[in-house]
Structures are given as structure tokens and as C-alpha cells.
């Protein structure tokens, strides 16, 4: 039964675990295989050619494990893939179109902000997807290269001065531009949504790209009769390309993984 197979999720590192949390919430009976390419994280500062190569290897691994669906829970991979014409497989989605669609539904003044990694912003993919979904929308984009290292090193408290100062530098121009909706275009960013909200004010709606990607996947799975029919809780398996111990040490910031074993794997080239 294809519907009994797990959902595959991958990211450059740990950020995609925010999408795993979302699957566990809205699709609690689904088994999940997660791959974090921690031996080569971060992707967001690399060239598009390198990212395409890495993404292909990540996808190849998940497919070799027999998944029924793949979520690319990485803003950078999703952006680069979209600018290449999108994922060829219909049972696979990234974060761009789902979060663009959500932002276009929510915005009232049609001024939408996008924050993401340097490579994501450079690809123009978010902007293109928003303008396709809502012609006439104004998109204000900002690359935020320091957010991933800040989150990965635990600078996520609302009163953390370095994180707040750097966030102000990135976000005040978006606030001044009058956005009413902001796409958190990298799956690390939900961990600092408190800091982001404090700067932009409650009137600006934040869209989590990972959460939207999962909602989109749920819809496609439903339409294709692929939702898992079991009633027991889904299982989670975690794979990393750098050491399992290191993954376990750092992952607790993103997800509760006690009793979940992490296995280190080597990607085929």
C-alpha cells in the first residue's frame, strides 16, 4: 500500500525540523523520514549549481528509502529548484508556492515582505510566485544571512541584543515600506518569530514557509488517496550526513527527539 509509506523531508541542516513539527501536528499518523545534510550545511550562501547538486543527492537518498512524498523543507533548495522550472515529480513540493499563496490570501494592502537566505533572494523565486498568484502585489525582499547562524547558536531570545540589532537592520526597511505580511522564507526563522514580531508589530502577519509547505503536502496527499490510514502515531526516523551525536546535541532546539535515534549516512555521488 503506497499510502502506508513514509513522507520524506529534507533540509540542509536542522531548520527543516520546524516542518517535521508541523507534520506531527496536522498529520499525526504519518511516518516521517528526515534527512539533514549537516556535513554541508548551510546551503544559503552557496551557488545555485552547488545547491542543485546537493539537492539531487538529498532527494535521491529519500527516494532510495521508499517514501511516498517528499517535502523540500529548505527555502534555498526550493528557490533554486523553482527557478529551474520546479520539481519534476508531482509528489514533491518545496516551500515557495505554498507560502506565496498563503501570503497573497492574507495580505490586505498587497505589500508583501520576504526574508530568506542570500541565494534564495537572489533567485527571485518568491517574488515571481507572489506576482503570479497576485498580479499587482508589491514584493519587498531582504536577504538575512546572519539569521541562520544566530538561530543555530541559540541567539533566539526576544531580549538578545545582538539578534535584535541585526534583525532591526534587516527588518526596519520592510516596516518602513509598509508591508502587512511577511514570509519567513527559511525554515530556521520561526525560532525567532518573537524577535521579528517585536520589530514589525502585531499588525504584520508572519507566514511560516515550512508550515505552509506541510499544509500543501497534506492537500496533495488527500487528493491522491495517499494519507496513511493507520490510527497509531507515526514514527520519525532521522538521518544526518555529519555525526549523529552532533545532530542530537543541536536538534533539541528545534524538536523534541528523545527516544528518536539519529543515523549518520553517506550520500551517493
Amino acid at each position: 500500500m503506497e499510502s502506508a509509506l513514509p513522507i520524506g523531508v529534507f533540509d540542509s541542516g536542522l531548520g527543516g525540523l520546524t516542518a517535521v513539527n508541523e507534520i506531527r501536528k496536522i498529520l499525526p499518523n504519518e511516518d516521517i523520514i528526515y534527512l539533514g545534510d549537516t556535513a554541508r550545511v548551510p546551503y544559503g550562501t552557496r551557488s545555485r549549481e552547488t545547491i542543485l547538486e546537493y539537492a539531487e543527492e538529498d532527494l535521491g537518498f529519500l527516494k532510495s528509502r521508499g517514501v511516498k512524498y517528499v517535502i523540500a523543507a529548505c527555502g534555498t533548495v526550493s528557490s533554486v529548484m523553482m527557478s529551474e522550472g520546479g520539481f519534476r515529480d508531482r509528489l514533491c513540493n518545496g516551500v515557495i508556492e505554498p507560502s506565496a499563496a498563503a501570503a497573497c490570501k492574507i495580505t490586505k494592502n498587497r505589500r508583501i515582505g520576504v526574508i530568506a537566505t542570500g541565494t534564495s533572494i537572489k533567485s527571485g523565486s518568491y517574488e515571481k510566485a507572489i506576482k503570479k498568484a497576485l498580479p499587482g502585489a508589491e514584493v519587498i525582499s531582504k536577504a538575512c544571512p546572519m539569521f541562520v547562524p544566530l538561530v543555530e547558536n541559540g541567539y533566539i531570545q526576544r531580549d538578545c541584543i545582538p539578534a535584535v540589532k541585526i534583525a532591526e537592520e534587516y527588518l526596519l526597511p520592510l516596516k518602513d515600506a509598509g508591508i502587512d505580511t511577511l514570509i519567513l522564507g527559511c525554515t530556521h526563522y520561526p525560532l525567532i518569530s518573537g524577535i521579528i514580531s517585536d520589530i514589525l508589530g502585531e499588525e504584520v502577519s508572519l507566514i511560516s514557509s515550512g508550515a505552509e509547505a506541510v499544509r500543501y503536502a497534506k492537500k496533495v496527499l488527500e487528493e491522491n488517496g495517499l494519507l496513511n490510514k493507520k490510527s497509531s502515531p507515526g514514527e520519525l526516523r532521522l538521518y544526518s550526513t555529519d555525526s549523529a551525536e552532533l545532530f542530537e546535541e543541536n536538534a533539541c532546539r528545534f524538536i523534541d527527539i528523545k527516544d528518536v535515534k539519529v543515523e549518520q549516512i553517506r550520500l551517493e555521488e
Copy 2:
């Protein structure tokens, strides 16, 4: 003539260029081949096994290009190699012993600080090298995982609040411990030596690990009759594992490379 061959230098990314600057200053007639593994930078947050694998590939590339000597201008690689018993090749050195020796020579109160990446500090290599060179020395070590992203994103000005705040968090405990000498154990750190000095005060001597590695290499080359005898200025060739364009964009922060071509290569596995 072996002495006419270039010196090879490698690092995970751009930090090792601070060592290249030093070679150009004190060995101006030497040709240099530099490899930055920008497709997999940073190394300092990865496991020792992964770093050993990457370092072997970096070394292999330089050797395949016919270099007479190799400087591992990367604190993380040097630390991990040292804890494995050091580089097998006598015409190769890292940054640990040279900077430990320099610190032991300079310190008056025998209280030496070391700042480096998480993996470097975890290896204990700096501490071991210092205590070997100066029994009775007290070593106060501190991992500074945010310094590489700060430097790579240009947060290097003395009045940059996020950089100063994070640096204070890392360095005030070392100041309180009464160190009179600090090893900058990662080749990125010289770019924020101004911020570091402002916090520690001028009475604390800063040791640049990359510069010490180059001085050490000069001595070995001299002793082995391997200094280049030509009188014309040496040539610099730059190789990166991610795109050449991206390397050129970012390298200008570390080194003047106008008129130097960067070539992207793929490492053998």
C-alpha cells in the same frame, strides 16, 4: 628545482587568505596555490571524522598540483590533525604548534587564552601544545562559534554593536581570568582584532595563528634549502570548490585579488 615549486595553502573557506597575506609580506618571491573549500565551509561546527575526510581531500588536491610545502591555514583542520598525531608529511604544518610556541614566548604571567571554533576547542590541541611548550602554563579556552559568520558577513567594525556584544560575551571571562596573551586560533579572527583588543585592552598580546604558521613554514623552507631563489614577485593562484564568482565577491574582504583569477575545482573522493 624543487625550490621553484609553489607553496600550497588551504582552508575551509576564506579565512586562510589572512595567511596568504602574510606569505606575500615575508616571502614575497614565493608562488602560492590557495584552495578554499567554499562548497563545504564552515568546518568548525562539524565532527572530527568529517573534518579529517575533508582535509585529506584538500591536501590531495594541493599535492596533485605539485607544491613543495603545504600550510593548513585552518585552525579546525590543524586541531583535529594534531589530535590524530599531527601531519605525517614533514613539509606541511598547521597553525597549532607555531602559535602555541609564539604565545609561550610572549606571555609573562603564564596565563594564555585561546579562542577558536567549537571543534578546535573540543579537540584540546591548543591546550596540549601550550602545556608541552611551557609546563605550568594556565590555558583558558573559549569556543567562539559566531565569529566566523560575523566576519564572513562583514560585521567587523569596532563600533558594530552585535559584534561587540557577542565578543564581550566570549572574551570577558578570559579578561577576568587575567590572561596576558591570546591566541586567535582561527584564521578568520585577525579581521576583528580591533574589536578583540578594545575588550581585552592593549596589555593583552594577540597572536595570529595564520601569521605564526607562515613564519614557521619559512623556517622549515630555509632549513631545507627550499626558498624560491627567483627575484620576481611570486604568483598567486586561487581555487574554490564553490563558484569562482562567489569566491571573488567575498574574498576582497580578506585580500587584494584584483588581476587574480579564481578557478572552481571539484575535489576527488
